[in-house]
């Protein structure tokens, strides 16, 4: 099983003729994705690796029926409108890969998505992959590289860093632990879907037996996750890796993702680790400890 996407999920790419989107199209098609169309205003009638290009989402919906999802890969200035276009045409799953969108605009996208009963992953993310099913986004890069890092199995992965999602999956794969679904949620201060919001999906997925997360300083996402785990008495053991511990000593400096600005005590890595451990989440010191910790926790859960 998987969450969000399967072999049969149809999706489109908004901004498909852009340089990065062209690569995404190739990589996703090679991994088996069912991409039914792409949008670039003014480019109707062209194609990208055989995927027909349209001027609007509406045209695609008329020609092929409403697709299940959309990858939005357009410049920051146009991203909000592109997401609104997808939502107003009935698309229920939107992966926003674009970065550097002011959070006011992200909040608007998320609010409309909630009103329309849709889900946004990202922005500033690499999307979703369910190994051997499909991927939707840039996770893992070219299909051959993706197959090397990601394999099918029992571990759900969620991460604020796209690159670290692949690193963790690769480490799990090398240790013989495959993944059910991996979600790169994005590193911004406001994201469409948080760790805690992903939990019910993993919880309901019979294939997922445990979760690995990559975490960073900044934001309240770990606090929210810890609370969720406690309140819902989650069946899933969770192992977290916390990066950026050095930032506890460097208040106010800005590193990495926009969300990693240490703004207060509750955002420090030590505070987050404490909170997660109190909720029964194991925190690994190093990436390579994650597989053993997961195995141990899964054995305890049985």
């Amino acid at each position: 099983m998987s969450i969000f996407i399967t072999k049969d999920t149809t999706f489109i790419i908004q901004g498909i003729t852009g340089r990065e989107a062209v690569n995404l199209t190739r990589e996703n098609l090679d991994y088996g994705a069912k991409i039914v169309g792409g949008v670039t205003p003014g480019r109707r009638g062209r194609d990208v690796y055989g995927v027909p290009v349209y001027d609007s989402v509406k045209q695609i919906a008329e020609a092929h029926g409403t697709p299940d999802g959309s990858i939005v890969s357009v410049p920051p200035r146009f991203t909000r409108d592109a997401v609104f276009e997808a939502l107003e045409n009935g698309i229920k799953l939107i992966v926003v890969v674009t970065e550097n969108i002011p959070r006011g605009q992200v909040a608007q996208m998320v609010e409309l998505a909630e009103l329309r009963g849709a889900r946004i992953i990202g922005p500033n993310c690499l999307g979703i992959i369910s190994p051997d099913e499909a991927k939707m986004g840039g996770m893992g890069g070219p299909a051959a590289n993706t197959r090397q890092a990601y394999t099918k199995g029992p571990i759900g992965v969620m991460s604020r860093s796209g690159g670290m999602t692949t690193e963790i999956a690769s480490t799990l794969t090398a240790a013989g632990l495959g993944q059910s679904t991996c979600v790169s949620i994005g590193g911004d201060a406001i994201v469409g879907t948080t760790y805690a919001e992903l939990m019910p999906y993993f919880e309901a997925d019979s294939e997922t037996k445990a979760i690995a997360i990559y975490s960073e300083p900044g934001g309240r996402m770990e606090a929210e996750l810890a609370e969720w785990v406690k309140v819902n008495d989650s069946r899933l053991p969770i192992v977290a890796f916390m990066a950026g511990r050095f930032m506890d000593e460097m208040k106010g400096m800005r590193f990495g993702h926009a969300g990693t600005i240490v703004e207060g005590k509750e955002d420090t890595t030590s505070e987050k680790i404490e909170r997660m451990e109190a909720a029964g989440i194991s925190v690994a010191e190093r990436i390579e400890e994650i597989p053993d910790l997961l195995r141990k926790r899964m054995a305890e859960a049985n």
Partner: protein, 398 residues
């Protein structure tokens, strides 16, 4: 990026919020003239970005122009949180009857703006939140439905403020919400907004933070407020090394290679972007290594960009060796980075096999990359060596 108090107030004034007479001054003579113009008791406030001015003694009062000049000289040299005054603000001292707190910021969990209001203003609001939670209201509001005075009214009245005070506060709070949304702020705060003895209301102190990503969209405002393009307003001003990193990033649009932060260690780092760099920086330190810099490279930079970045880091005094490390990459080509860093070493007049302690970038085009590294005798590894181990090998070579 944070605005000084006088800049925040200039923004508030444009939106019709009530403010007393005030002058930004840069000498004791100007301070005296400002106090004369105001013609009564004044407040002398150091303009710094960090909080805690009052405790540091950088806010003073004066009854006469001469005293104002004296207090200017007293306030100016005081460092607040290690920060020197940009200038000094002289304002009319108002007879305050009561102080309120109002702030708008983002709630990342609810993904909505949140309006905070308290009738216990003028003091540390975190303390109020802990000790008198019933005196602090939290009101979320929509970013797509039109905002209105109703929201302000609910926020204010829910801590028990009523009558004429409620009706006079509503427009001030509503305008702060508008300013917050209109300028892509991450924080808009007035503490305190004061009720004066005559029953009128006035903004006594306030500050705003503009979202860095939205800076380009508000260029006009920044020019009008006199905020320079080179003002980063970070915790400390950028060093020449950091500015050079930004410059060489700007000449080539391909990939990222310039978000550099300088430290005083001896190991130069070229360590990927985002999460991977946080992980590797931790790993180097855990092995006892002393990073000379934090550096992001990613998004498939060109050979030229990787080369220039390598030269910049190797050129930094005290840097003996560099480590080139990333997590498993998706869209960055390993061979291009390898070519770039080797070219950078050679152009800096160094032997790549001696100055590159380790090259750990697994992923796309790695076989091609490894061939190049082999040719120059550079130690490299694939994904079977963890990020932590790779950092250890780098530190061991120093």
């Amino acid at each position: 990026m944070r605005f000084y108090e006088y800049e925040s107030k200039a923004l508030f004034r444009r939106h019709g919020m009530p403010l007393g007479e005030g002058h930004v001054v840069n000498s004791n003579a100007e301070a005296r003239a400002a106090a004369e113009a105001i013609g009564g008791p004044v407040v002398i406030k150091s303009q710094v970005l960090s909080g805690g001015r009052m405790k540091a003694g950088a806010v003073q009062f004066a009854d006469t122009p001469d005293e104002a000049a004296e207090k200017y000289d007293f306030v100016l040299p005081i460092e607040v949180g290690g920060e020197k005054a940009r200038s000094v603000l002289i304002e009319a001292k108002s007879p305050v009857a009561h102080e309120y707190f109002v702030s708008v910021t983002w709630d990342g969990r609810r993904k909505l703006p949140v309006l905070l209001f308290s009738d216990m203003g003028g003091i540390d609001i975190e303390e109020v939140a802990e000790t008198h939670p019933e005196h602090l209201s939290r009101t979320h509001f929509s970013t797509i439905l039109p905002i209105s005075e109703r929201i302000a009214k609910e926020a204010i009245s829910s801590v028990g403020v009523s009558g004429g005070d409620l009706n006079r506060l509503v427009p001030i709070v509503y305008k702060l919400m508008q300013v917050f949304l209109q300028y892509d702020l991450t924080l808009a705060e007035i503490n305190p907004v004061a009720k004066l003895e005559d029953g009128s209301f006035i903004v006594l102190d306030g500050h705003v933070d503009l979202e860095a990503e939205a800076r380009g969209e508000h260029k006009k405002l920044l020019v009008e407020l006199g905020i320079g393009e080179d003002e980063t307003r970070l915790a400390r001003p950028p060093t020449e090394f950091e500015l050079e990193g930004a410059r060489l990033n700007a000449v080539d649009h391909r990939g990222v290679a310039g978000n550099v932060v300088e430290f005083d260690g001896n190991l130069g780092l070229i360590i990927g972007a985002g999460g991977g760099s946080l992980t590797l920086f931790d790993a180097v330190r855990k092995h006892g290594g002393k990073p000379a810099n934090y550096c992001e490279i990613g998004g498939n930079p060109s050979v030229g960009k990787a080369c220039n970045l390598t030269k910049l880091i190797l050129g930094k005094p005290g840097v003996e060796k560099i480590a080139v490390m990333m997590n498993v990459v998706s869209n960055t080509r390993v061979d291009i980075v390898a070519r770039g860093v080797i070219k950078g070493c050679l152009e800096a007049g160094k032997d790549p096999s001696k100055v590159i302690t380790i090259f750990r970038i697994p992923g796309a085009w790695e076989d091609e990359g490894f061939k190049i590294l082999e040719k120059y005798g550079v130690e490299y590894c694939d994904r079977s060596v963890s990020m932590y181990e790779a950092a250890g090998r780098a530190v061991a070579k120093l």
